[in-house]
Protein backbone atom coordinates (compact mmCIF):
# COMPACT_ATOMS: atom_id res chain seq x y z
CA UNK A 1 0.00 0.00 0.00
CA UNK A 2 2.75 2.38 0.90
CA UNK A 3 4.73 1.30 -2.11
CA UNK A 4 1.77 2.63 -3.99
CA UNK A 5 2.35 5.89 -2.18
CA UNK A 6 5.95 6.04 -3.39
CA UNK A 7 4.69 5.46 -6.90
CA UNK A 8 2.22 8.29 -6.52
CA UNK A 9 4.95 10.66 -5.42
CA UNK A 10 7.30 9.48 -8.13
CA UNK A 11 4.68 10.05 -10.80
CA UNK A 12 3.84 13.49 -9.53
CA UNK A 13 7.41 14.66 -8.91
CA UNK A 14 9.29 12.57 -11.40
CA UNK A 15 12.16 15.00 -11.86
CA UNK A 16 12.46 16.06 -8.21
CA UNK A 17 12.62 12.67 -6.47
CA UNK A 18 16.27 11.69 -6.20
CA UNK A 19 15.85 8.43 -4.31
CA UNK A 20 13.29 6.27 -2.61
CA UNK A 21 13.29 3.01 -0.80
CA UNK A 22 10.89 0.74 1.00
CA UNK A 23 12.35 -1.33 3.77
CA UNK A 24 10.10 -3.49 5.95
CA UNK A 25 7.19 -1.09 5.93
CA UNK A 26 9.45 1.92 6.20
CA UNK A 27 8.93 4.04 3.11
CA UNK A 28 11.26 6.90 2.34
CA UNK A 29 11.31 9.47 -0.42
CA UNK A 30 14.27 11.80 -0.93
CA UNK A 31 13.33 14.92 -2.81
CA UNK A 32 15.04 18.08 -3.96
CA UNK A 33 14.64 20.94 -1.52
CA UNK A 34 13.05 23.17 -4.18
CA UNK A 35 10.02 20.86 -4.35
CA UNK A 36 9.60 20.60 -0.59
CA UNK A 37 6.57 22.86 -0.33
CA UNK A 38 4.71 21.47 -3.33
CA UNK A 39 5.38 17.92 -2.12
CA UNK A 40 3.85 18.77 1.23
CA UNK A 41 0.87 20.31 -0.46
CA UNK A 42 0.42 17.23 -2.60
CA UNK A 43 0.78 14.75 0.26
CA UNK A 44 -1.73 16.61 2.39
CA UNK A 45 -4.37 17.38 -0.24
CA UNK A 46 -4.28 14.53 -2.71
CA UNK A 47 -7.13 12.16 -1.78
CA UNK A 48 -4.99 9.13 -2.47
CA UNK A 49 -2.36 10.36 0.00
CA UNK A 50 -4.41 12.24 2.59
CA UNK A 51 -1.53 12.70 5.02
CA UNK A 52 -3.31 14.72 7.66
CA UNK A 53 -0.72 14.18 10.39
CA UNK A 54 2.80 15.54 10.47
CA UNK A 55 4.31 13.26 13.10
CA UNK A 56 7.77 14.75 13.30
CA UNK A 57 10.07 17.12 11.53
CA UNK A 58 13.75 17.27 12.34
CA UNK A 59 17.15 17.23 10.68
CA UNK A 60 20.37 15.25 10.58
CA UNK A 61 23.81 16.73 10.24
CA UNK A 62 26.37 15.00 8.02
CA UNK A 63 29.37 17.34 8.31
CA UNK A 64 31.42 15.55 5.66
CA UNK A 65 28.71 15.61 3.01
CA UNK A 66 27.59 18.26 0.62
CA UNK A 67 24.72 19.18 0.97
CA UNK A 68 25.34 18.91 4.64
CA UNK A 69 21.95 18.69 6.32
CA UNK A 70 19.11 16.32 5.75
CA UNK A 71 15.67 17.58 6.75
CA UNK A 72 13.52 14.62 7.71
CA UNK A 73 9.74 14.63 8.05
CA UNK A 74 7.49 11.80 9.10
CA UNK A 75 3.94 11.85 7.83
CA UNK A 76 0.96 9.65 8.54
CA UNK A 77 -2.51 9.32 7.14
CA UNK A 78 -5.25 8.80 9.68
CA UNK A 79 -7.83 7.66 7.14
CA UNK A 80 -5.63 5.42 5.02
CA UNK A 81 -3.23 4.28 7.69
CA UNK A 82 -0.08 4.67 5.68
CA UNK A 83 3.10 6.44 6.62
CA UNK A 84 5.85 8.12 4.67
CA UNK A 85 9.24 9.55 5.51
CA UNK A 86 10.36 12.48 3.38
CA UNK A 87 13.90 13.79 3.24
CA UNK A 88 15.54 16.74 1.57
CA UNK A 89 19.19 17.72 1.57
CA UNK A 90 20.09 21.36 2.19
CA UNK A 91 23.07 23.49 3.05
CA UNK A 92 26.66 23.81 1.94
CA UNK A 93 29.43 22.13 3.83
CA UNK A 94 30.13 25.36 5.74
CA UNK A 95 26.44 25.33 6.81
CA UNK A 96 25.55 28.26 4.60
CA UNK A 97 22.39 28.28 2.51
CA UNK A 98 20.70 25.80 4.80
CA UNK A 99 17.28 26.94 3.72
CA UNK A 100 14.06 25.15 2.96
CA UNK A 101 10.41 26.10 2.62
CA UNK A 102 8.30 26.05 5.73
CA UNK A 103 5.46 23.61 6.12
CA UNK A 104 3.82 25.63 8.88
CA UNK A 105 1.14 26.77 6.47
CA UNK A 106 0.20 23.15 5.78
CA UNK A 107 0.42 21.50 9.19
CA UNK A 108 0.10 23.39 12.45
CA UNK A 109 2.49 21.01 14.14
CA UNK A 110 5.24 22.09 11.77
CA UNK A 111 5.44 25.44 13.50
CA UNK A 112 7.16 24.31 16.68
CA UNK A 113 8.98 21.42 15.01
CA UNK A 114 10.62 23.82 12.59
CA UNK A 115 11.47 26.19 15.39
CA UNK A 116 13.19 23.36 17.22
CA UNK A 117 14.98 22.36 14.05
CA UNK A 118 16.15 25.92 13.60
CA UNK A 119 17.21 26.08 17.23
CA UNK A 120 19.25 22.89 17.12
CA UNK A 121 20.60 22.91 13.57
CA UNK A 122 20.25 26.45 12.30
CA UNK A 123 18.17 25.54 9.29
CA UNK A 124 16.16 28.47 7.97
CA UNK A 125 12.56 27.70 7.15
CA UNK A 126 11.44 30.24 4.58
CA UNK A 127 7.93 31.51 5.18
CA UNK A 128 7.79 30.50 8.82
CA UNK A 129 5.68 33.02 10.76
CA UNK A 130 7.84 33.13 13.90
CA UNK A 131 11.23 31.54 13.43
CA UNK A 132 13.08 31.96 16.71
CA UNK A 133 14.60 29.65 19.27
CA UNK A 134 12.11 27.50 21.12
CA UNK A 135 14.14 25.51 23.65
CA UNK A 136 17.32 27.48 24.15
CA UNK A 137 17.62 31.09 25.21
CA UNK A 138 18.10 33.95 22.77
CA UNK A 139 21.60 34.64 24.08
CA UNK A 140 22.79 31.22 22.93
CA UNK A 141 25.35 31.37 20.13
CA UNK A 142 25.47 28.54 17.66
CA UNK A 143 23.40 25.45 17.17
CA UNK A 144 24.20 22.63 19.56
CA UNK A 145 23.15 19.59 17.55
CA UNK A 146 25.50 20.42 14.75
CA UNK A 147 28.38 18.04 14.81
CA UNK A 148 30.92 20.84 14.95
CA UNK A 149 29.48 22.29 18.15
CA UNK A 150 32.05 21.48 20.87
CA UNK A 151 30.71 18.80 23.19
CA UNK A 152 32.02 20.53 26.31
CA UNK A 153 30.95 24.04 25.42
CA UNK A 154 28.40 25.65 27.73
CA UNK A 155 27.05 29.18 27.61
CA UNK A 156 25.84 30.02 31.10
CA UNK A 157 23.30 32.77 31.59
CA UNK A 158 24.36 33.27 35.17
CA UNK A 159 28.04 33.67 36.02
CA UNK A 160 29.27 30.85 38.18
CA UNK A 161 30.07 31.56 41.80
CA UNK A 162 33.53 32.76 42.58
CA UNK A 163 34.52 29.99 44.91
CA UNK A 164 37.73 28.06 45.01
CA UNK A 165 37.49 24.79 43.15
CA UNK A 166 34.09 25.58 41.70
CA UNK A 167 34.41 22.50 39.56
CA UNK A 168 34.79 20.27 42.58
CA UNK A 169 32.99 21.80 45.49
CA UNK A 170 32.90 19.67 48.58
CA UNK A 171 31.69 17.07 49.14
CA UNK A 172 32.15 16.22 45.50
CA UNK A 173 35.55 15.63 44.11
CA UNK A 174 36.81 15.45 40.57
CA UNK A 175 35.35 11.95 40.34
CA UNK A 176 31.91 12.90 41.55
CA UNK A 177 29.05 10.72 40.53
CA UNK A 178 26.56 8.32 41.92
CA UNK A 179 26.65 7.61 45.61
CA UNK A 180 27.97 4.15 44.95
CA UNK A 181 30.24 5.35 42.19
CA UNK A 182 33.91 5.98 42.08
CA UNK A 183 34.51 7.31 45.55
CA UNK A 184 34.70 5.46 48.78
CA UNK A 185 32.39 6.46 51.54
CA UNK A 186 35.13 6.81 54.08
CA UNK A 187 36.05 10.09 52.46
CA UNK A 188 32.55 11.39 52.84
CA UNK A 189 32.41 10.27 56.42
CA UNK A 190 35.52 12.27 57.03
CA UNK A 191 34.06 15.28 55.25
CA UNK A 192 30.96 15.25 57.37
CA UNK A 193 32.82 15.20 60.62
CA UNK A 194 32.64 18.62 62.25
CA UNK A 195 36.32 19.01 63.10
CA UNK A 196 37.54 18.07 59.68
CA UNK A 197 39.16 20.93 57.85
CA UNK A 198 37.78 21.29 54.36
Amino acid sequence: MSKLLIELVRNEFSDAVTASHSERGDETVVIKAASWLSLGQFLRDDPACDMALLVDLTAVDFPDQNPRFEVVAHLASLTRGHRLRVKAKVGQRDASRAEIDSWSGLWGSANWAERECFDMFGIIFKGHPDLRRILLYPEFVGHPLRRDYPAQKIQPLVPFREVDNIDKLPPFGPTEGMSFGRQTHDQWQKLNQPDDDL
Binding site: L135, L136, Y137, P144, Y149, A151, K153, I154, Q155, P156, L157, V158, F160, R161, I166, L169, P170, P171, F172, E176, G177, M178, S179, F180, H185, W188, Q189, L191, N192, P194, L198
Partner: protein
Amino acid sequence: MGQLNSSSVSTVEPAEHGYFTTRFESILSWAQKYSLFMYPFVTACCGMEFMAVSSPRYDFSRFGSEAPRFSPRQSDLLWVVGTISQRQAPILKRIFEQMAEPRWVLAFGTCASSGGFYDNYATIAGIDKIIPCDIYVPGCPPRPEAVLDGLMLLQDKIQSGDRRPAIVKPRSDPATDQSLGLVQLRRPSQA
Protein backbone atom coordinates in the same frame (compact mmCIF):
# COMPACT_ATOMS: atom_id res chain seq x y z
CA MET B 1 -2.47 28.12 88.50
CA GLY B 2 -4.57 30.38 90.60
CA GLN B 3 -7.42 32.49 89.47
CA LEU B 4 -6.72 35.09 86.83
CA ASN B 5 -6.91 38.18 88.92
CA SER B 6 -4.09 40.38 89.96
CA SER B 7 -4.11 39.36 93.57
CA SER B 8 -3.48 35.67 92.86
CA VAL B 9 -0.62 35.98 90.32
CA SER B 10 2.53 34.53 91.82
CA THR B 11 5.97 33.70 90.63
CA VAL B 12 6.70 30.15 89.52
CA GLU B 13 8.52 28.25 92.15
CA PRO B 14 11.45 26.30 90.70
CA ALA B 15 11.07 23.56 93.20
CA GLU B 16 7.51 22.89 92.13
CA HIS B 17 7.66 23.29 88.34
CA GLY B 18 11.27 22.82 87.25
CA TYR B 19 13.27 24.77 84.69
CA PHE B 20 16.38 24.45 82.66
CA THR B 21 18.89 26.89 81.23
CA THR B 22 20.18 27.01 77.69
CA ARG B 23 22.11 29.22 75.37
CA PHE B 24 20.20 31.60 73.20
CA GLU B 25 21.75 30.32 69.97
CA SER B 26 20.90 26.80 70.96
CA ILE B 27 17.23 27.38 71.52
CA LEU B 28 17.02 29.61 68.46
CA SER B 29 18.47 26.94 66.20
CA TRP B 30 16.27 24.37 67.93
CA ALA B 31 13.29 26.46 66.89
CA GLN B 32 14.64 26.97 63.39
CA LYS B 33 15.31 23.35 62.68
CA TYR B 34 11.81 22.28 63.59
CA SER B 35 10.03 24.98 61.61
CA LEU B 36 11.64 24.81 58.19
CA PHE B 37 9.26 26.58 55.88
CA MET B 38 10.10 25.19 52.49
CA TYR B 39 10.09 26.49 48.97
CA PRO B 40 9.79 23.55 46.56
CA PHE B 41 11.60 24.33 43.29
CA VAL B 42 10.47 21.20 41.49
CA THR B 43 11.52 20.85 37.87
CA ALA B 44 11.80 17.20 36.96
CA CYS B 45 11.08 13.57 37.72
CA CYS B 46 12.48 13.83 41.25
CA GLY B 47 9.24 15.66 41.96
CA MET B 48 7.50 12.29 42.11
CA GLU B 49 9.75 11.24 44.92
CA PHE B 50 9.31 14.61 46.55
CA MET B 51 5.55 14.01 46.55
CA ALA B 52 6.16 10.61 48.12
CA VAL B 53 8.21 12.17 50.90
CA SER B 54 5.61 14.80 51.57
CA SER B 55 2.67 12.43 51.53
CA PRO B 56 1.53 10.50 54.61
CA ARG B 57 3.54 7.34 54.06
CA TYR B 58 6.88 9.07 54.62
CA ASP B 59 5.52 12.36 55.88
CA PHE B 60 8.29 14.86 56.40
CA SER B 61 5.92 17.05 58.31
CA ARG B 62 7.01 14.89 61.23
CA PHE B 63 10.24 16.86 61.10
CA GLY B 64 8.58 20.23 61.21
CA SER B 65 9.12 21.03 57.56
CA GLU B 66 5.55 20.65 56.53
CA ALA B 67 4.35 24.01 55.33
CA PRO B 68 5.31 24.96 51.78
CA ARG B 69 5.52 28.65 51.14
CA PHE B 70 5.29 29.56 47.51
CA SER B 71 6.93 32.84 48.20
CA PRO B 72 10.68 32.75 48.70
CA ARG B 73 10.42 35.69 51.08
CA GLN B 74 8.65 33.49 53.61
CA SER B 75 10.82 30.42 53.17
CA ASP B 76 13.80 29.03 55.04
CA LEU B 77 14.66 25.98 53.01
CA LEU B 78 14.94 25.86 49.23
CA TRP B 79 14.33 22.38 47.86
CA VAL B 80 15.87 22.16 44.41
CA VAL B 81 14.22 19.05 43.03
CA GLY B 82 15.35 18.05 39.57
CA THR B 83 17.47 19.12 36.67
CA ILE B 84 18.33 22.79 36.36
CA SER B 85 18.99 23.94 32.83
CA GLN B 86 21.05 26.95 31.91
CA ARG B 87 17.86 28.68 30.97
CA GLN B 88 16.39 28.17 34.43
CA ALA B 89 19.52 29.27 36.26
CA PRO B 90 18.55 32.97 36.44
CA ILE B 91 15.19 32.02 37.92
CA LEU B 92 16.74 29.80 40.55
CA LYS B 93 19.33 32.39 41.47
CA ARG B 94 16.70 35.06 41.79
CA ILE B 95 14.51 32.87 43.99
CA PHE B 96 17.49 32.19 46.20
CA GLU B 97 18.36 35.85 46.47
CA GLN B 98 14.80 36.68 47.46
CA MET B 99 14.96 34.38 50.47
CA ALA B 100 15.73 36.01 53.77
CA GLU B 101 18.54 34.90 56.02
CA PRO B 102 18.92 32.39 57.50
CA ARG B 103 18.31 30.23 54.48
CA TRP B 104 19.27 26.74 53.52
CA VAL B 105 19.42 24.92 50.21
CA LEU B 106 18.89 21.22 49.67
CA ALA B 107 19.89 19.63 46.36
CA PHE B 108 17.46 16.79 45.79
CA GLY B 109 18.83 14.11 43.52
CA THR B 110 21.85 13.68 41.34
CA CYS B 111 20.88 16.26 38.73
CA ALA B 112 20.53 19.07 41.21
CA SER B 113 23.72 17.97 42.94
CA SER B 114 26.04 17.50 40.01
CA GLY B 115 24.06 17.58 36.78
CA GLY B 116 23.91 13.81 36.71
CA PHE B 117 24.27 12.35 33.30
CA TYR B 118 23.18 15.59 31.66
CA ASP B 119 26.73 16.52 30.73
CA ASN B 120 25.76 18.82 27.87
CA TYR B 121 25.25 22.33 26.58
CA ALA B 122 21.90 22.83 28.24
CA THR B 123 22.30 21.76 31.85
CA ILE B 124 23.93 23.25 34.93
CA ALA B 125 26.36 20.72 36.34
CA GLY B 126 25.04 21.09 39.86
CA ILE B 127 23.23 24.00 41.47
CA ASP B 128 26.30 24.77 43.55
CA LYS B 129 27.71 26.41 40.45
CA ILE B 130 25.29 29.29 41.01
CA ILE B 131 24.03 29.13 44.60
CA PRO B 132 25.61 27.75 47.75
CA CYS B 133 24.19 24.39 48.69
CA ASP B 134 23.96 22.89 52.16
CA ILE B 135 22.78 19.33 51.68
CA TYR B 136 23.24 17.01 48.74
CA VAL B 137 20.92 14.02 48.47
CA PRO B 138 22.26 11.60 45.86
CA GLY B 139 20.03 9.23 43.97
CA CYS B 140 18.25 9.15 40.66
CA PRO B 141 15.79 9.80 42.16
CA PRO B 142 16.66 9.37 45.84
CA ARG B 143 14.59 7.08 47.97
CA PRO B 144 12.36 8.88 50.45
CA GLU B 145 14.49 7.44 53.23
CA ALA B 146 17.53 9.16 51.76
CA VAL B 147 15.62 12.43 51.64
CA LEU B 148 14.62 12.06 55.27
CA ASP B 149 18.26 11.38 56.05
CA GLY B 150 19.12 14.60 54.30
CA LEU B 151 16.51 16.52 56.23
CA MET B 152 17.77 15.17 59.54
CA LEU B 153 21.33 15.91 58.48
CA LEU B 154 20.29 19.48 57.79
CA GLN B 155 18.63 19.71 61.19
CA ASP B 156 21.82 18.52 62.82
CA LYS B 157 23.75 21.14 60.95
CA ILE B 158 21.34 23.88 61.91
CA GLN B 159 21.59 22.83 65.54
CA SER B 160 25.37 22.84 65.49
CA GLY B 161 25.67 25.96 63.39
CA ASP B 162 27.71 24.18 60.76
CA ARG B 163 27.24 25.74 57.34
CA ARG B 164 29.57 23.48 55.41
CA PRO B 165 27.98 21.35 52.72
CA ALA B 166 27.26 17.75 53.45
CA ILE B 167 26.13 14.74 51.52
CA VAL B 168 23.74 11.97 52.46
CA LYS B 169 25.61 8.72 52.63
CA PRO B 170 24.02 5.44 51.72
CA ARG B 171 23.33 3.30 54.74
CA SER B 172 25.13 0.53 52.95
CA ASP B 173 27.04 0.46 49.73
CA PRO B 174 25.11 -1.58 47.16
CA ALA B 175 28.32 -2.20 45.25
CA THR B 176 29.94 -4.06 48.12
CA ASP B 177 27.16 -5.06 50.49
CA GLN B 178 26.61 -8.72 49.68
CA SER B 179 23.56 -8.92 51.90
CA LEU B 180 21.66 -6.80 49.40
CA GLY B 181 22.00 -9.63 46.90
CA LEU B 182 23.08 -7.39 44.06
CA VAL B 183 25.76 -8.19 41.57
CA GLN B 184 29.30 -7.09 42.16
CA LEU B 185 29.18 -3.63 40.63
CA ARG B 186 32.60 -2.32 41.35
CA ARG B 187 35.84 -3.69 40.08
CA PRO B 188 38.37 -4.68 42.70
CA SER B 189 40.57 -1.73 43.54
CA GLN B 190 43.97 -1.48 41.98
CA ALA B 191 45.73 -1.52 45.35
